[in-house]
């Protein structure tokens, strides 16, 4: 731990709170006290423990839903309108169950890093059910991200380039020998592994050839290469020539020095700050990621950065992070909400511009101040009001009115409310639910300090 004289740093408790915010979804009641008592290093070690997901009772108690059969079969254009409507309704029902399940898992997780990373990778390899039209394949991709998301990036990238949902999403099935479709190749370089500006148009076209020939079996939920559809010729991508295929393409892309810096920069952007890391920081992050492309090593390096303890390293919570954090504090379980409230939860997230499994594009969701729009303020209040109605507000209600603002602050895991917020909250100390709803909309909670 390097301390730079003159730069203000968070105290130990606030630093632990930041860890719980950034490597998880914020504390449940009592968790911040317990973590602060253990200290920053022990809290970090517990979060990064690779064995933690296996013993996570909260995760075990929330197994993925059994989605049943695949309702949608492409190519069955002869279906009548009633049949199409039944298919659509079945898909919508599966979609709702999957989304509510994942939100529920995020709230229930005892070892939240696995879900936080899965959420990160979902935004990184952003795939939308709206085009994939298979909820089962979205779940399968989600499980792959959960299984591999905290390990080495090579395995994850290899899995994603051949992931059935990804192949449908980026037209990988239409990419065949002699008839290339560049979509997957381009986005894999631009958005997933290298970043823009580190390859040429010729590289895109050649990489697309390397990815030709994949077919998805929706029923079996598999993707496999079909030799006669694959372009087996010699390709040259970024100066490497050979009979490249999906795996060798992934390897050569990840071998580029820009790739480690790109991945480290994306992690920093989502977990630390929308301001890019300074060059020295990026070098240390890349060293932590290392030759093994170790995501946990990268996170360890992130937490060791002096900037990680600076108050200015603030992060706007994405709507899902904000809502899940609030549900953890209020002990609201999405899966246990009445149906109408569950629908309102999803509608609220839609109003805020972020529904899991429906990113707006392959570029994922925006970040930083882009979430702080005029319209979002009201959507946030409505969703907070819904959640406090279904939440446990005892910690605030049992406090005397004069202590309720501080009780709300402690419950939400906020370091301190400023004078503006304190004065605003004084208007509603008589109603603990309203108090918590307004507190959840306070800048001190909307932005992770």
């Amino acid at each position: 731990m390097v301390i730079i004289v003159g730069v203000p740093t968070l105290d130990e408790r606030a630093a632990v709170r930041r860890l719980l915010d950034r490597f998880g979804f914020g504390p449940r009641p009592g968790e911040l006290d317990a973590a602060a008592a253990r200290g920053f290093d022990a809290t970090l070690a517990a979060l990064l423990d690779p064995g933690a997901p296996a013993t996570d009772a909260g995760a075990r108690a929330t197994p993925p839903p059994d989605l049943g059969d695949e309702p949608y079969r492409p190519g069955t254009a002869t279906q009548d309108q009633a049949a199409r409507q039944r298919t659509q309704a079945a898909l919508r029902d599966q979609e709702r169950r999957l989304t509510v399940w994942w939100l529920d898992r995020m709230v229930a997780a005892d070892a939240p890093l696995a879900e936080r990373l899965t959420w990160f990778w979902h935004g990184h390899f952003a795939t939308s059910v709206q085009k994939v039209r298979s909820v089962r394949l979205m779940l399968k991709q989600n499980q792959t991200m959960r299984r591999l998301g905290g390990g080495d990036f090579t395995s994850l990238a290899r899995a994603m380039i051949a992931d059935p949902a990804m192949l449908i999403w980026l037209d990988g099935q239409q990419n065949t020998a002699g008839a290339a479709n560049e979509n997957l190749a381009r986005e894999f370089m631009e958005l997933f592994t290298l970043g823009i500006g580190h390859y040429t148009e010729t590289d895109v076209r050649e990489a697309a050839r390397a990815l030709t020939g994949w077919r998805v079996d929706r029923q079996a939920m598999t993707a496999s290469p079909v030799p006669r559809r694959h372009d087996g010729g010699t390709k040259t991508v970024l100066g490497v020539t050979g009979n490249l295929d999906a795996n060798s393409l992934v390897d050569l892309l990840l071998n580029r020095p820009e790739s480690a810096r790109f991945v480290a920069g994306r992690i920093w952007y989502r977990l630390v700050s929308a301001d890019p890391p300074p060059a020295g920081t990026l070098d240390r992050l890349v060293a932590g990621y290392g030759a093994g492309r170790d995501i946990r090593g990268l996170l360890r390096a992130v937490a060791a950065e002096p900037a990680f303890r600076e108050p200015a390293t603030a992060l706007v919570k994405q709507p899902v992070e904000w809502a899940v954090g609030l549900m953890r504090a209020l002990r609201v379980r999405p899966a246990e909400l009445p149906e109408q409230a569950g629908n309102q939860l999803l509608a609220g997230l839609r109003g805020l511009g972020q529904v899991p499994f429906q990113p707006p594009s392959v570029g994922g969701w925006p970040g930083g101040a882009a979430w702080l729009t005029t319209s979002a303020g009201l959507a946030r209040l409505h969703l907070a009001q819904l959640l406090v109605q279904h939440g446990d507000v005892t910690a605030v209600a049992s406090a005397p009115p004069a202590g309720r603002i501080d009780a709300a602050r402690a419950l939400l895991g906020v370091d301190a409310f400023g004078q503006r917020t304190t004065e605003a909250l004084r208007r509603v100390t008589g109603d603990p639910r309203q108090l918590l709803a307004v507190a959840a909309c306070a800048p001190e909670y909307v932005v992770s300090g």
Binding site: S128, K131, D171, Q174, G178, A179, A180, N181, E182, R186, E190, L191, G195, I196, G197, E201, A274, D275, P276, A312, A314, V316, G353, P360, S361, V362, G363, G364, W365, P366, G368, A369, A370, L372, T373, T374, S375, A376, G377, L378, L381, G418, Q419, R420, T421, E423, A424, L425, R426, V428, D431, Q434, A437, V438, C441, A442, P443, E444, V446, G449
Partner: protein
């Protein structure tokens, strides 16, 4: 399938987003906007520019279609429209069959089609190309949008550029000033003590970090926006209106709001609206025709409504996308990322017709159309002809103009 939207651009551009959006933390003050509409309403003769961004790269060749050209038919046999399908504009070109409203505006001389618009050394990345269009800087990366620089250059009043989208597009982000973001839809603020407390969160707090201050500012803007919108769109009808907007499509809803603000005399001079989903790599025809039909209905309705009032008659609409598509179809009955495409200008102040040369379908660059008109010609023309600002302040020494496209 909304594969490309402004959000994708915002997230991933890296070229613009961080700096410009940080700069977006400006003093856009809705109370000032409202009182300005009372004190100093939009002059009935002041030009208003509405920029429509089509995210994803709209296929220009299937929008303004050279249906009679054999090279077109040969390059995309399953994707091509036949001459009898398109809405004839003359010169061998016709509008996509979904664009009947624009055909009517063409016949009324209110639609100008600028052909072959692009920039040298075209970039095939959505993000980079959209950044180039939004910053008006093809040569080097710029951190400000062209209308953001217009706000900077015309300085003292940052209330004059408004995005009617959930997220502020970089084109409105300047060095010092940035446009405001206003949602399309009604805003019902809570009442009573809850309302007072919620409003209180919008006050500035000394010593607060940048992002927290920005969060507080957005809540203050919300209070003021609710007042403005209540006046412009008629509060009690908002629920019915919201339902109507959903069925009519997002772009129509955005343009409805713009129309209300113009009619209310809000002194905003530039608006940004958008429609996404144009990234048609596969099964393009149905998808694009559906999107173009939505675009057509929204634009035609808006231009018609604006034609009914003095202020509205000063409104000019500019429609563009970050690139067209490859001339040759791919094997998925779609098209990959291409280059130059048509730009539309619409409104009563527009002199309808063709401008710029139609790019050749046989003299290609790497399988792509060669641009015949620089996109900055269009920007310079509307900066001077609609916003009344010398283009040099925003675009440097760019000389080109689209002569005669705007009524003097």
């Amino acid at each position: 399938m909304d594969t490309i939207t402004r959000r994708r651009f915002l997230t991933a551009s890296g070229v613009v987003a961080a700096g410009a959006i940080a700069a977006g933390a400006t003093r856009l003050n809705w109370s000032d906007l409202l009182s300005a509409a009372h004190r100093d309403p939009l002059r009935p003769d002041a030009g208003v520019l509405v920029v429509v961004t089509l995210y994803g790269g709209n296929d220009g060749l299937n929008t303004v279609v050279p249906a009679a050209d054999h090279a077109y038919q040969d390059a995309r046999p399953h994707l091509a429209y036949q001459p009898q399908e398109v809405l004839d504009l003359g010169e061998g070109l016709g509008l996509n069959p979904g664009m009947k409203g624009l055909k009517r505006l063409w016949d009324a001389k209110q639609l100008a089609v600028v052909r072959g618009v692009g920039y040298p050394q075209p970039d095939h990345s959505h993000f980079r190309s959209m950044a180039i269009w939004q910053t008006a800087s093809p040569g080097s990366a710029q951190t400000t949008g062209w209308l953001g620089r217009w706000l900077d250059a015309t300085g003292d009043d940052p209330l004059r550029a408004v995005s009617v989208e959930p997220v502020l597009p970089p084109l409105l982000a300047g060095e010092r000033a940035a446009g405001g973001s206003l949602p399309a839809g009604g805003l019902q603020l809570p009442k009573g003590q809850l309302g007072v407390a919620f409003a209180g969160l919008g006050s500035p707090q000394p010593g607060e970090g940048t992002l927290q201050a920005r969060a507080a500012k957005s809540l203050a803007d919300l209070q003021n926006a609710a007042h403005v919108l209540g006046g412009a769109t008629g509060g009690k009808a908002s629920a019915a209106k919201a339902g109507q907007q959903r069925t009519r499509g997002a772009l129509a809803a955005q343009l409805d709001l713009v129309a209300g603000l113009v009619e209310a005399g809000v002194p905003t001079r530039a608006y940004s609206v958008s429609l996404g989903g144009f990234d048609t790599h596969a099964d393009e025809r149905g998808t694009q025709e559906r999107l173009l039909t939505e675009l057509d209905g929204a634009l035609a309705g808006f231009v018609d409504r604006m034609g009914r009032g003095d202020r509205g008659r000063q409104v000019v609409v500019l429609v563009y996308s970050e690139f067209g598509r490859r001339v040759r179809a791919n094997a998925s009955q779609g098209t990959d990322h291409g280059t130059a495409g048509p730009v539309f200008l619409l409104g009563q102040g527009v002199r309808g017709g063709f401008y710029g040369e139609q790019p050749s379908l046989t003299d290609l660059g790497g399988g792509d159309l060669k641009e015949t008109t620089d996109f900055r010609d269009v920007y310079a023309t509307v900066l001077e002809g609609v916003l009344g600002t010398e283009a040099g302040k925003i675009l440097g020494d760019h000389r080109g103009r689209i002569d005669g496209v705007l009524n003097a």
